[in-house]
């Protein structure tokens, strides 16, 4: 039986396909081209008219166009009714001069200070209000913003930026090199409590040979440097005069009425209602066409959807994206178009590396015992893409040659047996655990106490789809003898110092979604330096809190090498090797990459949802038509 939902498996050798169904499936999955299908069909003796039907039937279902020379697999799977993003929206009709656009979201920004906001909704607004030295375009390429050009020295340590002249801040102050210097100093100053110093912490000294040149001397060759300091939000350049007003002003009033160099300025922020932006006429770039953008704040998606339905809101995207469970509803309104684009967010089950979960084969068994593809087909309705490692399919470093593990309960049991476990009288797996010490190899050592294989499956409460998925996975694990109990808590509780991550006595899995940044650097997740020092500490490698990963040394080596390597081809090779390592070792069970659904009224032009950028990234190009 042919599976109609495509699943990208990489290129498939046509010689390995032996019947009509396999051929059709391979074509749907994007593994062979039309030419290969025709050729192989002829080879195995399928009649020409039948081949014609096969071609016709699969013509618009091919998963991607993996041109076998190009490594970037652009996902083009369509959900009926949604449109694909191929560029900015271009409605027919005459563009109006000026006009007001009402965009909506479901969470209020915490602050509009780009260095302190912790929420995507804050970044959504700020990406149109501030500028960075560079910025990203929709193809993951870094392009000039406040810096017209830059040069990197041959040893990769010295970055020279030539700054744009004639740029002014929203209060009229001129932008010069000293603003870059002041920004850097403030970020590194703990009094200003900047939330992320990534990138900027690699600058040893900063020289300003003249008002429009900045020379950064960095501490070591660091590939993500440009990426981290290139963002209008996380790399926002702020006027030196603002920092002179002190940390309290910076954290407080500046966060309510910020001043940047972007195409739009903040007019006012009515608490819990909306943020009003208007065109900044002194913007250095393309003059924005809209007069005003109103960012309407709603308490949840229900209220937002009602406003989309009545037309009171004209756009819902990025932090205000339509959830996949509400998609059909929104498609039924008739007032908005819905655009689908890939995402940098990956859903996974994080596994606490204690007891049996320190053993590679056990983790692989859990992957085999998780009905991921079924969940994708039936609960997610095919609206997500199967994941097997941590680099997004739309990025240049995505490993196209890895096949995710199928749902195979027998294989799972076999792996558990190979790992040294046995099923007791009740069918529950049990056996000796690795010695609870950091210095042993858990794949061979079984010197610890004998335990039953009991797991807690945690998920974030509040969403019925998440709950369903959790129940399906829990039930599947229970069915092969892993005693699993599903538990849920709200976000703040689940990751509190008293949460599941820091309890040494339980084996746990937690399902949630994590968000990649534009640069492939992933030291944050896997490197040993990122293991939190205590339950209240910082660090993204919490799964290794009790014991380092059994492959920690290798992953440390590769993540560091990836961060250091500045040659793009070599860097890509490192991340591909890293993905293979991560897939083989399965430190967490990877589930899927989500899609983003943006709703916008058909008469809005210039809107371009980009996975690498937040909402207002190209707001100066937006316009309304008659």
């Amino acid at each position: 039986m042919v599976r109609l939902i495509p699943e990208f498996r990489g290129a498939i050798d046509p010689e390995s396909l032996d019947d009509i169904n396999e051929l059709i499936q391979a074509r749907i999955d994007g593994g062979i081209s039309r030419r290969q299908l025709v050729k192989r069909a002829a080879q195995i003796g399928i009649a020409a008219p039948v081949v014609g039907v096969m071609l016709h039937a699969t013509s618009d279902m091919a998963y991607g166009k993996p041109s076998l020379g190009r490594d970037r697999a652009i996902v083009r799977m369509q959900t009926a009714g949604t449109k694909e993003v191929t560029g900015p929206t271009a409605p027919s009709g005459t563009p109006k001069e000026g006009g007001v656009l009402v965009a909506s979201t479901i969470e209020e920004p915490d602050t509009l200070n780009p260095w302190i906001t912790a929420l995507v909704t804050g970044s959504d607004v700020l990406t149109g209000v501030f500028g960075g030295l560079m910025r990203y375009d929709s193809n993951q390429q870094i392009i000039p913003d406040l810096a017209e050009s830059f040069e990197i020295s041959t040893d990769g340590l010295i970055y020279t930026f030539k700054l744009r002249q004639g740029v002014t801040f929203h209060d009229g102050a001129a932008f010069t090199a000293k603003d870059v210097d002041a920004t850097w100093k403030a970020i590194m100053n703990p009094d200003f409590t900047a939330y992320s110093q990534l990138g900027w912490d690699h600058i040893k000294t900063l020289d300003m040979p003249d008002d429009f040149t900045v020379v950064m001397n960095t501490t070591e060759a660091y590939a993500p440097f440009m990426a981290y300091i290139s963002d209008p939000v996380s790399g926002a350049i702020i006027s030196a005069a603002i920092f002179d007003k002190g940390p309290d002003y910076f954290r407080g009033d500046f966060g309510r009425a910020p001043i940047g160099t972007g195409p739009f300025k903040i007019d006012e922020w009515k608490a819990k209602e909306q943020i009003g932006l208007s065109r900044y006429d002194g913007y250095w770039g393309t003059k924005p066409k809209l007069d005003q953008i109103i960012y309407r704040i709603n308490p949840d998606d229900n209220t937002q959807l009602v406003q989309l339905q009545t037309g009171e809101a004209q756009m819902a995207a990025s932090s205000g994206s339509i959830g996949s469970s509400r998609l059909d509803e929104v498609l039924g309104y008739g007032t908005v178009d819905v655009y689908e684009r890939p995402n940098m967010a990956w859903s996974h089950l994080d596994l606490k590396h204690v007891d049996f979960l320190r053993i590679t084969k056990v983790r692989q068994a859990l992957d085999y015992a998780t009905p991921t593809q079924d969940i994708i087909d039936n609960i997610q309705k095919g609206r997500v893409v199967r994941a097997f490692a941590d680099q997004a399919p739309i990025t240049t470093v995505y490993a196209t040659d890895i096949t995710p593990r199928p749902y195979d309960l027998e294989k799972a049991k076999q792996l558990l047996t190979e790992a040294g476990l046995t099923q007791n009288g009740d069918g529950v797996w049990e056996g000796p655990t690795p010695t609870p010490s950091k210095d042993i190899d858990p794949n061979t050592d079984r010197g610890g106490p004998t335990k039953e294989f009991k797991m807690e499956f945690w998920y974030i409460s509040g969403d019925s789809v998440t709950q369903q998925i959790a129940q399906v996975i829990t039930q599947s694990w229970n069915s092969i003898g892993i005693k699993t109990e599903a538990k849920s808590e709200d976000v703040s509780t689940i990751w509190s110092p008293d949460g599941y991550q820091f309890n040494p006595d339980t084996m746990t899995a937690c399902m949630y979604s994590w968000f990649n940044s534009n640069d492939p650097d992933n030291m944050y997740y896997w490197h040993s330096s990122q293991i939190p020092p205590d339950p209240t500490g910082a660090g993204g490698n919490a799964i290794a809190y009790f014991f380092p990963l059994n492959f920690q040394a290798k992953v440390d080596e590769l993540t560091v090498a990836g961060a250091k390597e500045t040659d793009p081809e070599k860097r890509k090779a490192i991340y591909i090797e890293l993905q293979h390592l991560i897939f083989d070792e399965t430190p967490v069970v990877f589930l899927w990459w989500s899609k983003d659904y943006s709703a916008v009224q058909p008469n809005i032009g210039g809107f371009w949802p980009s996975p690498f950028n937040r909402l207002l990234w190209n707001a100066q190009e937006w316009y309304v038509t008659e």
Partner: protein
């Protein structure tokens, strides 16, 4: 009476302090803190996390935090919001007026309708008016607020398009008329519950008064029924009713989360809920304190009203 008021207000101070301490303790007991998500979410270093914690005063022991809060409080400083990094006073009073507007309108509607329903039902006991209004009252009492709100929204905003669906004002701004249009649906939603309870209360209170001797005397004297009602029945029936209302008002002013969520009204209810999920302790404490204070005032008003309206009661 002045002595009475002053005594009550003075007595409120230890009460409010007690409320603060208790709420502080309960909040600390809840797992997680404002920095939980930061540690997990930001790509921040340990040093930065410590700096942020220090800035929020979270690195100090709990009793020190409480003491600092109380000493600030007596100086009139409610502290700084963790998530918004600005004074709690500003955070609360940005949205408090919005709740006041909504509640005033809702209360007015409730009062008017409850009086008509309540007294009308009592006068018409077991008649058609009584049956209809009783049915409506029970309906209002038992129906979930969010359902009613959603139904109103779908009917009037989506299907008919007569009224805006959510928010307090139009995106592009508007005057008083715009505000009124936005207020109608949420105010009605809020009113429905009160109409239910108040009309029933007033109905039984009126029935009791109607059975009194002096009413019979008034009728015997030949007064018109309307005069009997307004001059004798109404005033006496309202006494206990008004005290109930006076106690309910402060509860309203702390906001109605559900209605505010359905209609995206930027009020205290939403602020409370958002602060709760973000574990923004200073704001939560500020709101709880405000609520406690309003309840004290409400009770005081109720007692004063009672003494004012009922000559049998005197304040001691």
């Amino acid at each position: 009476m002045n002595a009475f008021v002053i005594r009550r207000l003075l007595g409120a101070i230890p009460l409010l302090l007690g409320v603060s301490v208790l709420s502080f303790i309960f909040m600390q007991l809840a797992p997680g803190g404002p920095d939980t998500l930061l540690a997990k979410n930001g790509r921040m270093s340990q040093a930065q996390l410590e700096a942020i914690r220090h800035n929020l005063g979270l690195d100090e022991p709990v009793h020190v935090q409480l003491w600092k809060w109380i000493t600030n409080l007596v100086q009139g400083d409610l502290g700084v919001s963790f998530s918004q990094q600005r004074p709690v006073r500003d955070v609360i009073f940005d949205v408090f007026p919005n709740t006041v507007y909504l509640m005033t309108v809702a209360l007015t509607i409730s009062l008017m309708v409850a009086v008509i329903f309540g007294i009308g039902a009592a006068v018409n006991q077991y008649g058609w008016f009584d049956n209809v209004t009783s049915f409506l009252a029970y309906f209002g009492l038992s129906m979930p607020v969010f359902w009613f709100g959603l139904m109103l929204q779908i009917m009037f905003a989506v299907k008919l398009g007569w009224l805006p669906s959510a928010g307090m004002r139009s995106a592009t701004g508007g005057g008083t008329f715009d505000l009124i249009k936005h207020m109608i649906l949420p105010a009605l939603t809020l009113a429905i519950g009160s109409i239910g309870s108040w009309s029933r209360y007033l109905r039984s209170s009126t029935l009791e008064v109607l059975g009194q001797d002096y009413v019979r005397t008034a009728r015997a004297k030949g007064l018109r029924e309307q005069v009997v009602l307004i001059r004798h029945v109404l005033r006496n029936a309202m006494i206990p009713f008004l005290t109930v209302v006076a106690i309910d008002i402060p509860l309203y002013l702390t906001g109605a989360v559900v209605t505010e969520t359905v209609f995206s009204w930027p009020g205290m209810g939403r602020l409370f809920f958002d602060s709760l999920t973000k574990r923004d302790y200073p704001v939560l404490m500020g709101i709880l304190l405000l609520g406690a204070f309003l309840i004290v005032i409400g009770n005081l008003l109720a007692d004063l009203l009672y003494a004012l309206l009922d000559p049998r009661i005197s304040l001691k």
